[in-house]
């Protein structure tokens, strides 16, 4: 217990032991004969992705470049899969030797970790809907612009006051939402824009670079020897044309590559956990609370209906309820949220908050249904008989006799489910809702540490859940006065 706790804290702070002693990564690589690099194949084509013809093989221009560097260092390269937004913290933890996955050379990153010389120059490309006359990022003030989390484009959007930046995790989704009118523009690297945005006839890529930046390899602070070796290899590749060959093969070579270093990039203002950030946390907690309450207000009546259908319905009615419960309980909420927000986008255009409430509500209804079913079955048989003998109709019996009693029995598991929903609501960040947990991960990037925002986030969840448990406890005492525990 204590060890587990200590370990959890260590992970939170990010001080788990690294594989090689500080600054000795190059020696370790040479000794092992292997350089490990972190990347996320979700970034997709052309960076690192699965070969469509041969699924277990990874291809992409970054695979080719890293293999070439490794060859020049006299070792083999092995990619390890990590979630993109966790690449830098994982590098710092020592999970792998370097990061190479569209990592942009931002001023902020340059302060945090060691960066190699660039291997690619990209341009930030603004994409709008075809027919939209906007041609500049400055025309986007007061509008919604989609981008990826922790990118140079995100930094640019944050620097420009009055732009509502919507943060995504995948390459495809920002352009889908732009097409659907959920956003007004997308600002992302030309590599991503060319492949996911500009190919779409409904969208238009503005042909001027909003800004330029470079992709670099990220190394741990102190690994200057490794940086020197990698920079040397990259310089050789530039000189003997191997880099150009790789980029041409990936159809990525353009005039921009001739300029080696286009500048330092924007510097986001330093953050400390101040009043502003606290207010952001409070706002995010409010989103979480709203989301949970509204979703639960949907789940309770729907669950009750499903339970009544399952207990009292005819065969087809029972079957419908049963299928609903099995489907929504048997598949991940995350999947349901994706389907609801992105999958059904062509048919019903739900806002992220609507989709989140609907998704969580529909999912939890399946759980509530089973809770109420159990409660209905626990009501003594004589209750229904007494109501019938008084001449009450089935509906009157249900409403005045069965459901109020079922609710009393179901109160403890319902409280349980609500607290659980409060925490599960963090899943909706995948459909761009910024709630408490997402706010925490964003703050962790700004603050370069997980401990303070993590504890703040935990405290906020408790501030939300404990009063709710207390409320439920009082309600239980009031409603279920006669349900005292039996003596054992």
């Amino acid at each position: 217990m204590t060890r587990g706790f200590a370990l959890a804290i260590a992970v939170l702070i990010g001080c788990a032991p690294s594989t090689d002693p500080q600054g000795k990564t190059l020696a370790g690589i040479q000794q092992r004969g292997e350089i490990t690099w972190g990347a996320d194949i979700q970034g997709g084509e052309p960076f690192v992705y699965e070969n469509p013809e041969y699924r277990s093989e990874l291809i992409g221009f970054e695979v080719d470049i890293m293999n070439a560097i490794a060859r020049r260092l006299g070792v083999k390269a092995r990619m390890v899969q990590y979630t993109w937004s966790n690449l830098v913290p994982s590098l710092e933890r020592g999970d792998f030797d370097v990061v190479m996955n569209g990592l942009e050379s931002t001023a902020e990153r340059r302060e945090r970790i060691l960066l190699s010389e660039p291997y690619f120059v990209y341009a930030e490309t603004l994409t709008v809907r075809a027919g939209d006359p906007s041609r500049s990022i400055f025309e986007m003030v007061g509008k919604r612009v989609g981008t990826l989390n922790q990118t140079f484009a995100h930094d640019i959007l944050l620097m420009l006051d009055g732009i509502d930046a919507k943060v995504y995790e995948g390459n495809e989704e920002p352009y889908r939402d732009l097409e659907l009118g959920r956003t007004d523009a997308v600002l992302l690297d030309n590599i991503i824009a060319d492949r996911y945005g500009c190919v779409n006839k409904a969208l238009y890529c503005v042909p001027y670079d909003v800004a330029r930046g470079t992709y670099v390899i990220g190394l741990r602070k102190g690994d200057t020897e490794l940086k020197r070796a990698i920079d040397g290899a990259l310089a050789d590749m530039r000189k003997d044309g191997e880099l150009e060959k790789i980029l041409r093969a990936a159809k990525l070579w353009d005039d921009r590559q001739a300029v080696a270093d286009p500048g330092p990039g924007v510097m986001r203002p330093h953050h400390s956990f101040d009043g502003d950030m606290l207010m952001q946390f409070v706002a995010a907690a409010w989103v979480t609370l709203q989301l949970s309450i509204l979703a639960f207000l949907l789940a309770v009546p729907l669950g009750m209906l499903l339970a009544v259908m399952r207990v009292y319905g005819s065969f087809p009615v029972r079957a419908v309820a049963r299928v609903y419960i099995e489907v929504f309980r048997g598949t991940p909420v995350l999947l349901q949220l994706f389907v609801l927000y992105y999958g059904l986008a062509g048919y019903v255009n739900l806002g992220p908050m609507q989709a989140a409430i609907l998704g969580l509500g529909l999912n939890y209804a399946a759980y509530e249904a089973e809770v109420y079913r159990g409660a209905l079955l626990a009501i003594p048989r004589g209750q229904g008989e007494a109501a019938r003998a008084l001449g009450m109709s089935p509906l009157q019996t249900l409403w005045h006799v069965m459901l109020p009693q079922a609710l009393r029995i179901a109160l403890p598991p319902m409280t349980n489910d609500f607290v659980s929903l409060l925490k599960d609501s963090s899943l909706v960040s995948v459909i761009t809702v910024i709630e408490l947990t997402k706010r925490m991960t964003i703050a962790a990037v700004d603050l370069r540490g997980w401990l303070v925002p993590g504890l703040a986030c935990a405290a906020m969840y408790l501030v939300l859940s404990i009063p709710l448990s207390e409320l439920a406890r009082r309600l239980e005492r009031r409603l279920a006065r006669d349900q005292r525990p039996h003596t054992l």
Binding site: E385, A386, A389, G391, M392, H400, Q405, R408, D482
Partner: protein
């Protein structure tokens, strides 16, 4: 008021009621006695169709009941049940409602009475069963005898033509039975038509205008208590009463 004609009911192969026929006129109090498993409760529950039967018919409070009544007859059954009150062995009060609300629920919901009117009537009934001061108590705050008296008031609130009692005192401690029996006795005096399944012989003797001895699904003996209890004609009745008397002496 009640007419039962050749009523038959089976549970699988076992015959529970066999060609039961009987008549009850307005104002009569029938005590139904007999050995356990003889079909007393089943007969009672057939009278308000809480249980269906396989053959024969029942006319009660002007409603005709036949085998196989289902969803199509639901409205008719409900109308019948608001004319026929029932009191259960286990009281079956609604635990989430106060004594007062237990009594007013059916008048409000089924008959659509205004709450004010229903409450005034409920308080009268509570007064009648001696619980005027416990109107706001919840069932779990009442003793068994008190709960059963509230249950009687609940049944009376529908102003029924007939009251059915299914062993109303069997779940009660002896000292609480008297209060409940007192209430039933008052009702009998007031001219209410009642059928009471009971094991209390003295009580049956005192209040009943007629006693039915039911055994093996038939009415073995039917007559005034002075005849059936004091001088039973059938072997079944004689043995049953003899067993009861010897049990009391032990």
């Amino acid at each position: 008021m009640i007419s039962v004609r050749t009523l038959c009911k089976r549970h699988g192969d076992r015959s529970v009621l066999e060609n039961v026929s009987a008549e009850v006129t307005r104002g009569e109090t029938i005590a139904i006695v007999g050995p356990s498993g003889g079909g007393k409760s089943t007969l009672l529950r057939c009278l308000n169709y809480l249980e269906s039967f396989d053959a024969g018919s029942v006319t009660i409070a002007g409603f005709e009941l036949r085998p196989g009544m289902g969803a199509r007859d639901a409205a008719k059954l409900r109308a019948m049940r608001s004319r026929v009150g029932m009191v259960f062995q286990q009281f079956n009060l609604f635990p989430h409602l106060s004594a007062l609300d237990n009594i007013t629920l059916a008048p409000r919901v089924v008959k659509g009475s205004a709450s004010g009117k229903a409450e005034t009537r409920a308080l009268e009934l509570l007064h009648k069963v001696g619980l005027r001061d416990r109107a706001n108590a919840y069932p779990h705050e009442l003793s068994g005898g008190q709960q059963q008296r509230v249950a009687i008031a609940r049944a009376l609130a529908q102003e029924p033509d007939v009251l059915l009692f299914d062993e109303p005192t069997s779940a009660l401690d002896p000292e609480m039975r008297d209060d409940v029996m007192e209430v039933i006795r008052d009702l009998a005096k007031g001219g209410m038509t009642m059928l009471v399944v009971t094991h209390e012989m003295q009580f049956a003797h005192d209040i009943a205008s007629r006693v039915w001895v039911i055994d093996k699904g038939t009415i073995a003996e039917d007559g005034p208590p002075s005849q059936v209890v004091d001088d039973p004609q059938t072997t079944v009745a004689r043995e049953f009463f003899a067993r009861l008397r010897s049990a009391r002496r032990d």
